[in-house]
């Protein structure tokens, strides 16, 4: 294809949008509303999942060792645990630290020293050195605990199976449900948008058949429609992304200022993180539907 033809197609595509302004606006409007709904839902799901994951990561597993194990042996156990992929954090808590922590938690920071001083040299929690472990994925807890229990020198492993299982199933439920809803929303979006594009092109059936009878190739007829589809797709997806971004930033700020308790309960996913996925996703969906919608719809009318 010659450069002049390419340039002509682009100019025609832009002109077509203006010539068929009502249909262009209808297509863009449909796309904006669909992707806006999709975006809102996506933001809710992402934050919900992040919240669940935060909770998951705070589910601790405590590993205690056999009596009289040397520091090297404890370190060796630590090494073996560090090789596990599902590991998130591992922290060694010595017997002394455990005792200090216990006193501080039980008697308060100020009074703790009275108690610890009284027990100097005689730690009631001797042999209570431990590894405090969190996992990346709470669903793998059972498997992980079985592994650690099987290690030499491990006396016992403390964990809450109920919490782990509950969280794991909640997480997968939310995962599946949101996947299903996102798919349905996307399907509805694709259907509505391509329907609007179809109507826009069908009213220009005559134009297409004239072009074909003059001797235009399929590509020549189609190119301006493709340009048009891409522009409509770009506008239709950029607008909701910009609006959603504005809303997201301001709503979080507002919620945090208005209800400080939310800060403790939920760690909002940052705007950057949400939109690192949402922006390209919306653009791909928008431009994709615009482009392929116009290709498929023109195809029907090209057989002249």
């Amino acid at each position: 294809m010659k450069f002049s033809t390419l340039w002509y197609s682009i100019r025609q595509g832009v002109k077509n949008i203006r010539r068929n302004l009502m249909f262009s606006l209808a297509s863009i409007g449909t796309m904006v509303s669909c992707l806006f709904l999709f975006g809102i839902f996506y933001m809710i799901v992402v934050n919900f999942q992040a919240a669940v994951q935060t909770v998951e990561k705070n589910v601790t597993i405590t590993v205690f060792f056999d009596y009289g194990l040397s520091e090297e042996q404890i370190a060796a156990i630590g090494e073996e645990i560090r090789y596990r992929e599902e590991l998130n954090t591992i922290e060694f808590v010595s017997a002394q630290e455990a005792w200090d922590k216990f006193c501080a938690e039980t008697y308060g920071e100020e009074n703790a020293s009275i108690i610890t001083d009284a027990f100097v040299g005689d730690n009631p929690l001797a042999n209570s050195a431990s590894y405090e472990i969190t996992l990346k994925d709470v669903a793998k807890q059972t498997e992980f605990v079985e592994f650690v229990e099987g290690l030499d020198g491990v006396r016992s492993v403390k964990n809450s199976e109920a919490v782990a299982n509950g969280l794991a199933s909640l997480n997968s439920l939310v995962g599946y449900a949101s996947m299903a809803i996102i798919l349905i929303l996307l399907f509805v979006a694709v259907f509505l948008i391509s329907n609007t594009i179809t109507i826009g092109i069908t009213v220009r059936k005559e134009e297409i058949s004239i072009m074909k009878l003059i001797g235009a190739t399929d590509f020549f007829v189609r190119a301006p429609f493709m340009v048009e589809g891409v522009i409509i797709g770009l506008l239709g997806s950029a607008i909701p992304v910009i609006i959603l971004r504005y809303i997201y930033e301001n709503i979080i700020e507002y919620l945090m200022a208005r209800f400080p308790i939310i800060n403790i309960l939920v760690n909002f996913v940052t705007t950057e993180e949400v939109f690192a996925t949402l922006t390209p996703l919306c653009l791909i969906v928008g431009v994709g539907i615009g482009l392929f919608g116009s290709i498929f719809t023109t195809r029907k009318h090209l057989h002249v």
């Binding site: 002049s4 033809t5 134009e207 074909k212 009878l213 003059i214 001797g215 235009a216 190739t217």
Partner: protein, 228 residues
């Protein structure tokens, strides 16, 4: 140039539009195809434009057997044929200039040639001063002249005109016919489908009469033959 051999077209509805038709039109001829509506004239045009496949028989245009032409080759063949319609079929949202230029853009003519050829073609059809107008601002005769300019701008070997004067008054009809005759004099084969008796009688060209899908007469030079 245009050869139909034993062509039959039967539509899915069961109606036979053309029944074992054979026509041979030589290069440089001016031919009228006449007949009342429903006689199969439009089907004949569609065959020549390869808008339609014959149910049986062979269509050859510019030396190409249509049965052997692939779908992607159709545009190339159509570029050798200029087509004019009764209802003009102009692109309504484009100016006169753009409508004519469009035919050149389709075949990827460089813009600098388009800028030269379109005005000279519009001058030929007498519309040089209306290049900025839109089809709805023109009279029927003017619109048909734009259509003619569009059909001719790429120097086609064949010009097909389907009822070109169907929507025009006698004066405009005559002007269009004179233009077609000019075009024919320059060497383009011209085929005009019509049922305008006055024009056919006046022009005294080859007349092929179609009735109920069959050719009932083919006069080398003559007038409109009344259907009995």
């Amino acid at each position: 140039m245009l050869v139909l051999e034993n062509v039959t077209v039967t539509y899915p509805t069961g109606i036979t539009a053309l029944d074992d038709v054979s026509i041979n039109i030589e290069k440089g001829e001016f031919v009228f195809i006449v007949g009342s509506s429903g006689s199969g004239k439009t089907t004949l045009m569609k065959l020549l434009m390869k808008e339609l496949e014959p149910t049986s028989g062979k269509v050859t245009v510019c030396g190409r057997d249509y049965a052997k032409v692939k779908r992607r080759e159709i545009p190339k063949i159509r570029r050798k044929i200029g087509m004019v319609y009764q209802n003009f079929r102009l692109l309504k949202d484009r100016s006169v200039y753009e409508n004519v230029a469009f035919a050149q853009r389709v075949i990827e003519t460089p813009t600098r040639y388009i800028r030269r050829q379109v005005p000279s073609m519009l001058t030929l059809v007498g519309l040089a001063n209306k290049y900025k107008s839109y089809p709805k601002e023109l009279s029927g005769g003017e619109q048909q002249r734009v259509a003619l300019a569009r059909a001719l701008v790429n120097n086609p070997e064949i010009l097909l005109a389907d009822e070109p004067t169907g929507n025009l008054d006698p004066k405009n009809s005559m002007e269009i016919m004179n233009l077609l005759e000019d075009v024919n004099r320059r060497g383009t084969t011209v085929v005009v489908v019509t049922h305008n008796r006055d024009i056919v009688n006046m022009m005294q060209k080859r007349v092929i009469t179609v009735k109920h899908g069959k050719i009932t007469s083919d006069e080398k030079k003559g007038g409109y033959i009344d259907e009995v």
